[in-house]
Each structure stands twice: as structure tokens, then as C-alpha cells.
């Protein structure tokens, strides 16, 4: 088999060669820009690099103009140590500790091969966190699937869950939360988002930059194979003169064991002070790592591609540059430290190879078999990609959707009907217990999990001495976002913020994963623009900066887009995790106090969805001032130790919230609808800025005073019963609703096993 490699010399001498730029996803003007930058045609290796780095996925070309708002509207805060633009943002949590966290999507691969797609999604986000110098300490998995009873959901969900568990468990990272939402809009396009949190000391923060002329560039971890090179195979088939390349895999397979070694090995070289700059290999593989490291550092790099350890010898240089083989990292190391670096890799059985060095030429030069195949200014690859101002417009159907308010839907008007409605909602797939899923995840490993599912937020101890820790929650109600994307993004933030506060943490910073349809559709682009604007405005008002995130476009089946799904993750800090507030009823005789104001807000609610299959109207109103006040009450109550439980109210309203609090520890309560209030609205409305807390008789005064001080309405609505007592709702139209815990448990627990077990 002979093949000719397209060199820089070839490119200069044969300007007329036609190149398959369109097949690689480049537009004619983008191709022309590359020619202008290089003042010649690109070599096929250069074309490969530009095409992948200028793709939507890597360059954010459709979203960039909007995402700028997260930087422009950054609230005043000294908590941000590293902001947007790095692999992940870093937040100061006090006492010299820093935390980094980020959420990313792996939607499309998980639809094709659920197990491996989800597994490699976890692998990728963990490497992002690792590359900041942090030890990964927990993961979360916000998931969206099609209808629960659809056969394809039956194919996708068990595989995704097994993949997340298989990879995360084997890595030794506790899974401390996530989401599972079913909605037909995700039928042909499930969402698999993965979040990772890492912790480090301030002085351990590392950045992706190649500094110091003469320093060595080391590629370490798994060998490079032909994974994820989809598009470039057109180049491969062109450059082979006879015979074809070996077949390239359609999906990537993860090796969590290798990743575990990579984590330990990386932390050891970082702590030994052997690393000048570091970068994980994710999308666009070596192309991305070398061009980003070079442009963030001295500006130049010389790479000898022949030195890359290969799993598959038939790979062409273009493919090696683009391969997305998992479990690889790239480090910049001083020559006098390279032996120590390689020794640590050897101790962990991790392959490592010096593939190049840092230069000050301002060029990224890559050679192959002694010839130069890439010679480009690295910034033009990594940072100067195209930027689109995609057209967007409020969809024609938006008004009609908002006008279709749920007021005409039949509501229950008797205690018996309310009882049936509660049981029906409790058993509905979105509200039912997620234990079938979460019991497949290790939540104990590392020994620092203070709260995990089904609590409102995951709480992780960071410092064993002081008890300092963090709380994290991710949320998004896609139905609300569909009704109004601006408000929907704010509601997602508000819910995650509230969840974190419910555990007693002070909300500090935000990450997000913006899952949308095609940016080429002006309707979708409008949803996106509105969601970003809404999130940025709300982050500014709540004082929680966006530290990073991810955009996933093209989530649609045919031309039907998913519900806009801006998943928002909020991280909060807890000064002493021993003071965290759990969600379940505990003590007989504690009083049940409702915080916040309930309005008749049922558009987009779980009730409208489950009972009437209805989506229309305007989502619950956003009141960020009220959210902030509520959060202050919840964190102060935790700090002062004056509440015994707290749970935020969201999907399913007060009724669902009480059920969850009762089932948590198997302790019931008697709760009354306040006189004069509408029982249905009281129990099922999804008004925001609300929570339920329990408090001992002695502390009631303190809690009511605290709420009054912050202007949060607080009403005593009932009392906790003894262990095993029923959940009783009184004053419900013509009587009481008695819900034995065994019956509630059966309703909540049976749904997912029956569907997927």
C-alpha cells in the first residue's frame, strides 16, 4: 500500500488542487479564509485541523455572539479564580480551597450507542476537570428521554444508565445527583449531559498553555486509534492511492480503568511540580490540544507526529490529528523534569511519548516522515474561527402557545379526586422514584458524600478537618422553556439555586449545558438567544457568575426540535457540612412551615402534563428577589441549626413535595390547606421561590422571625407525625385526604422497575 502525504511544499506548488472542504463541513467563504490566512491552499492535514476546529462543536460559531453576555454581565464577585474560556471555571470556596465544575453534553453518541456514548460522556467531562489540576470528586447526570413507554426509550435508557454507572463507578467517583425527565420531544434525540466537580488548593490551579521555549510536549494515556474521525475519512480515502484504509469505528469505546490510572498519574505529576501546562484531549484530539496549548502560551510548537503511539498503524496523519480516542492527556514539561515525569507514568502503567516542543516561531509546525505537513499560526486554528450572526425571530406559533392557558382544564373538586390526582402524579414517570436508576450508581466511594439523591442537592465534604464542602444541583424544566425561553432559563437557574440553598449551602456559581435544536432554524435561534439573555440577566441579579458550560445544537428529529433545554448547574458552599439540612420529615411533633407565596400557576405544570397532556400558557412568574430572600432564610436557618428539614417545591407542587419529605424517612405528617385558599392551587401549583421546612416547637419563633426579617411569607401548615404515620391533607374541599405511606411508596417505587426492570 503506498500513499502520498500532502506536504506544505506540495500545497505551495500545486495551488490548483481541488480539496473536499465541503464534505468536511466548511463553507466556501471559510475555505477561502483559510487560504487567505496561509497565503496558499491548506495541506490536507491543515484542512483537517481547520475543519474540525472551526466546526460548531469546537468553535461555538453560532453561539459565540450570544454567550458573550455571560462575560459582559458577570456579577461583582471575588469568588471567581478562573473564568469562562478555560477548560472549566474555578471558584474560591474559602480556606485556600478551590472548586471547579462543568457540565457537558454527549447527546448524539448516546443515541447511537447508549452505553458507550454515555460512558465516554462521563470520561470526557472528568478529563476537563482533571486538566485544571483538580481531583475529580463527584459526578452528576442530567438526562432527558422520550416517552417512558416508548420502545426506543426502552433501548436507550437502560444503556445510558449502565454506561454512566459502568464508567463512573469504575472510576471511583460518587454520583450525587442528576435528573431524569421523560417527554416525547426527546424521542429521537435523548439528552445525556454529564457534570463533574473537582477540588484543589489554590496553588494547584493549572492552565492549558505551552510556556517556555524548549519545553517538551508529552502525550500520555491511551494509544491513539481511529475513533471519532468520521468526516476526515474523505481525506484518507483521497490520499490512499491503492487499497483503502482499515475500517474506522463508528463509536468510541471508553476504558474507565485507563482513565482511573490517568487521574492518579496526572495528579501525581502535577503535585510533584513537573508540569508547566496541561490540556485534556477531547473533541478534535491532537489538533485541539496542540493549537490551544500553543496559542495560549509562547505561540509556537513543533510536533513530530510519527512519535504518537498508535493503536492502529493504518491511520493517516490527518486521522491522527483528528482522532478523538479517549483517555489521553497532553502536558508541557521542562526538559530537566521529563525523566521524573515519565517515571511516574511508568509507575502507573501509562504510555507516554514526547511528541514535540514549544517554540517562539508563532507557528504550529507538524512533521510526518520528515516532511512538514502543517505550518500554521495556531491562534487562527484555535481561536479565530468563524463567527456567525445567525438570523433569529420569535416563532409564529409562540403567541398561540402562550394564549392556550390551562384555565379551561378540568380540576379536581373533591377530596377523593385530589387523592386520585396525588397518587397519579406520584406514580408518573417524571415524579416517580428514580431509585431504579440511582441504585446503579455508587454514591459512597471517596467517603465524602454527605447528601446524594434523592436529596435536593448533592453535598460533598471538601475538607475533612473543617467540614467545608460544596452543594450542587442541576435543573431545567424544558416545558417552561418552550413556553418562554427567557423565563425558562431563569426558572432553571432559580430551581437549581433553590435546591442548593435548601441543603443549607450559599449559592456561588453557575455552569450550564444549553441543549437546543438546529441553529439554522430562526425559531430555535430565537429560543437560544432568549435563553442565554435570560440566564445572563438572572445570574447578574442573583450574583452567581457563569463559570463555563457547553452548547449542544442540532438536537432534533427531522425538523422538529427538542424543547429548549438550558440545563443549569448551581454550586454552593457550606462552611461546615455537619450543618447541612436534609429533606425528610424526622421528628414527631415538628411543625411544618410553608415558605413563599403560592399563586394560581399551572401552565407547563406536571399536573397539566400528566393529567391533560397539555402544554400552553405562560410559565410561573420569575421573582429573583424572592428567590434570593428564600435562599437567605434557608442558609441562615441551616447555619443557626434551627430547622430539622427543608425541601424546595417545584415539579408537582406542594403535594409532591410533602410526599417526598414523608417517604424519605418513612415519617408522615398532617398538613392543612390554609383557610380561604383554593385546595387545588395550594397543592398543585408550581409557583417558584417556595420551600417547606420543619421546625421544633421551641424554634418556631426563631424561624418565623428569620423569614419575616427577609420578607419571606411563612405559614405553619401542619405537624410531622410519628414514624410510619400517614400523610394526611386536611381541608381539601369536602374532607381529608389520607395517604398511607405504604401506598405512596408503592405508587412511587413501582413505575420505573415496571417500565425498565
Amino acid at each position: 500500500m503506498t500513499r502520498h502525504t500532502d506536504t506544505v511544499t506540495d500545497a505551495s506548488t500545486t495551488p490548483e488542487v481541488e480539496q473536499p472542504y465541503a464534505e468536511l463541513g466548511l463553507k466556501p467563504d471559510e475555505y477561502q479564509r483559510i487560504r487567505d490566512i496561509l497565503e496558499r491552499r491548506p495541506t490536507s492535514a491543515e484542512l483537517a485541523m481547520y475543519s474540525v476546529m472551526w466546526s460548531e462543536h469546537c468553535s461555538y460559531k453560532s453561539s459565540k455572539v450570544h454567550l458573550r453576555q455571560f462575560g459582559d454581565k458577570t456579577p461583582d464577585t471575588d469568588a471567581l479564580l478562573v473564568g469562562i474560556g478555560e477548560n472549566a471555571g474555578v471558584v474560591d470556596i474559602g480556606d485556600g480551597w478551590a472548586v471547579t465544575f462543568k457540565v457537558e453534553s454527549h447527546n448524539h453518541p448516546s443515541y447511537v450507542e447508549p452505553y458507550q456514548g454515555a460512558a465516554t460522556g462521563i470520561g470526557g467531562i472528568v478529563r476537563d476537570i482533571l486538566s485544571m489540576g483538580a481531583r475529580p470528586v463527584a459526578v452528576m447526570d442530567p438526562l432527558r428521554f422520550g416517552a417512558a413507554d416508548h420502545p426506543d426509550t426502552h433501548r436507550v435508557l437502560p444503556g445510558v444508565v449502565a454506561g454512566i454507572g459502568g464508567y463512573g463507578n469504575c472510576l471511583g467517583l460518587p454520583n450525587v445527583g442528576g435528573e431524569i425527565v421523560f417527554d416525547p420531544s426527546y424521542q429521537g434525540n435523548p439528552l445525556v449531559n454529564a457534570l463533574c466537580v473537582g477540588t484543589m488548593r489554590h496553588e494547584d490551579i493549572h492552565l492549558a498553555s505551552a510556556k517556555g521555549v524548549g519545553n517538551l510536549v508529552v502525550l500520555y494515556g491511551a494509544k491513539t486509534g481511529g475513533d471519532g474521525i468520521g468526516g476526515v475519512s474523505v481525506l484518507a480515502s483521497e490520499t490512499f492511492e491503492d487499497g483503502g484504509p482499515a475500517k474506522r469505528p463508528a463509536v468510541q469505546v471508553g476504558d474507565p480503568f485507563m482513565e482511573k490510572l490517568l487521574i492518579e498519574c496526572t495528579l501525581e505529576v502535577l503535585h510533584a511540580g513537573l508540569v508547566e501546562g496541561i490540556q485534556d484531549l477531547g473533541g478534535a484530539g491532537i489538533s485541539c490540544a496542540t493549537s490551544e496549548l500553543a496559542s495560549n502560551g509562547e505561540g509556537g510548537m513543533h510536533v513530530v507526529l510519527d512519535r504518537v503511539p498508535l493503536r492502529d498503524r493504518t491511520l493517516t496523519p490527518e486521522e491522527i490529528l483528528m482522532s478523538e480516542s479517549q483517555e489521553r492527556m497532553c502536558a508541557v514539561v521542562r526538559p530537566d523534569r521529563i525523566d521524573a515525569f515519565l517515571a511516574i507514568c511508568a509507575r502507573w502503567d501509562v504510555d507516554a511519548a514526547v511528541i514535540g516542543e514549544v517554540t517562539d516561531t508563532g507557528r504550529l509546525v507538524i512533521e510526518w516522515h520528515g516532511e512538514t505537513i502543517v505550518d500554521v499560526p495556531p491562534r487562527t486554528v484555535a481561536h479565530d474561527g468563524p463567527v456567525y450572526e445567525r438570523p433569529y425571530a420569535r416563532p409564529a406559533w409562540q403567541d398561540e402557545l402562550q394564549a392556550d392557558a390551562p384555565e379551561h382544564l378540568a380540576r379536581p373538586t373533591s377530596a377523593g379526586a385530589v387523592r386520585d390526582t396525588v397518587l397519579r402524579l406520584v406514580a408518573s414517570p417524571n415524579l416517580a422514584s428514580k431509585t431504579w436508576v440511582t441504585s446503579q450508581y455508587d454514591r459512597y466511594v471517596l467517603g465524602n458524600t454527605v447528601l446524594a439523591q434523592p436529596e435536593d442537592a448533592g453535598v460533598i465534604r471538601v475538607d475533612e478537618e473543617s467540614g467545608r464542602g460544596v452543594a450542587i444541583s442541576t435543573d431545567c424544566n424544558g416545558r417552561f422553556a418552550k413556553l418562554d425561553p427567557y423565563a425558562g432559563a431563569q426558572l432553571a437557574l432559580a430551581e437549581a439555586y433553590r435546591n442548593v440553598a435548601a441543603t443549607g449551602a450559599r449559592p456561588l456559581a453557575v455552569t450550564n449545558c444549553l441543549n437546543f435544536g438546529s441553529p439554522e432554524d430562526p425559531d430555535v435561534m430565537w429560543q437560544f438567544a432568549e435563553a442565554v439573555r435570560g440566564l445572563a440577566d438572572a445570574c447578574l441579579e442573583l450574583g452567581t457568575p457563569v463559570t463555563g458550560g457547553n452548547v449542544s445544537f442540532y438536537n432534533q428529529t427531522g425538523d422538529v426540535a427538542i424543547h429548549p433545554t438550558p440545563v443549569v448547574g448551581v454550586l454552593g458552599v457550606v462552611d461546615d457540612v455537619a450543618r447541612r439540612t436534609p429533606m425528610g420529615f424526622r421528628h414527631d411533633g415538628d411543625l411544618v412551615v410553608a415558605l413563599g407565596e403560592t399563586r394560581d400557576e399551572l401552565a407547563g405544570s406536571e399536573w397539566a402534563h400528566v393529567v391533560h397532556d397539555h402544554l400552553g400558557g405562560l410559565p410561573p412568574s420569575v421573582d429573583l428577589g424572592a428567590e434570593r430572600a428564600l435562599a437567605e432564610v434557608l442558609t441562615a436557618a441551616s447555619r443557626d441549626g434551627i430547622v430539622t428539614a427543608a425541601h424546595d417545591l417545584s415539579d408537582g407542587g406542594l403535594a409532591q413535595g410533602l410526599v417526598e419529605m414523608a417517604l424519605r424517612n418513612g415519617v408522615g405528617a398532617e398538613v392543612g390547606v390554609p383557610p380561604g385558599a383554593d385546595p387545588f392551587v395550594t397543592l398543585f401549583s408550581e409557583s417558584t421561590a417556595r420551600a417547606v421546612v420543619t421546625v421544633s416547637q421551641e424554634r418556631l419563633g426563631a424561624v418565623l422571625a428569620l423569614a419575616a426579617h427577609h420578607g419571606v411569607p411563612a405559614t405553619v401548615v401542619g405537624a410531622v407525625g410519628e414514624a410510619g404515620s400517614d400523610l394526611v391533607l386536611t381541608g381539601v374541599y369536602d374532607g381529608d385526604v389520607v395517604l398511607p405511606l405504604a401506598q405512596l411508596r408503592e405508587a412511587a417505587e413501582a413505575t420505573l422497575p415496571a417500565l425498565f426492570g
Binding site: 450507542e113 475513533d227 482499515a246 469505528p249 476504558d255 485507563m258 493503536r311
Partner: protein, 82 residues
């Protein structure tokens, strides 16, 4: 009574971390010259009666969907003496 074996192997281009681990261990434990190891699965089916055309067709269909994942695996069916 027929006995049929369905062999399921990862496609050659797909990473096989298990095979890699076994390869390393065999070498360390003294088996020289191992150039590669791939791990696969087998399903041994006991069938009542003979494996006629129509059942073989059904089996092919299920081998390519249930027993193997065509995105990453290949399968082969062989009849063995029971």
C-alpha cells in the same frame, strides 16, 4: 435437539480494553509471543427439534439485534453436536 453457538466478537476496529488487560497479564505470567488478544462472548443455545430454515432466519435476526450490538460487534452462528 440441536445445539447452536452464537459467537459475538467486537469489530476489529473497536477498542477492546478487556482483551488488552488479558494480553498484558498473559505476557507477565510467562506466555511468550502474544501479539494480541480479543475477548468475545458465546451463547450456547439448546433448541428443541431441528434448526430449520425459518428458525435459523429468526436466530440470525436476533443474533444481529439482541445478542450482539451491530454498532460495535459482529456475530457468527455455528451448529455443534449436542
Amino acid at each position: 435437539m440441536a445445539r447452536v453457538v452464537v459467537d459475538v466478537m467486537l469489530k476489529p476496529e473497536i477498542l477492546d480494553p478487556q482483551g488488552k488487560a488479558v494480553e498484558g497479564a498473559l505476557g507477565r505470567l510467562g506466555l511468550a509471543g502474544v501479539a494480541g488478544v480479543r475477548q468475545g462472548k458465546t451463547f450456547t443455545l439448546e433448541l428443541d427439534g431441528e434448526l430449520d430454515e425459518s428458525r435459523l432466519a429468526t436466530l440470525h435476526e436476533l443474533a444481529g439485534s439482541l445478542l450482539s450490538n451491530p454498532v460495535i460487534e459482529d456475530y457468527a452462528i455455528r451448529e455443534v453436536t449436542a
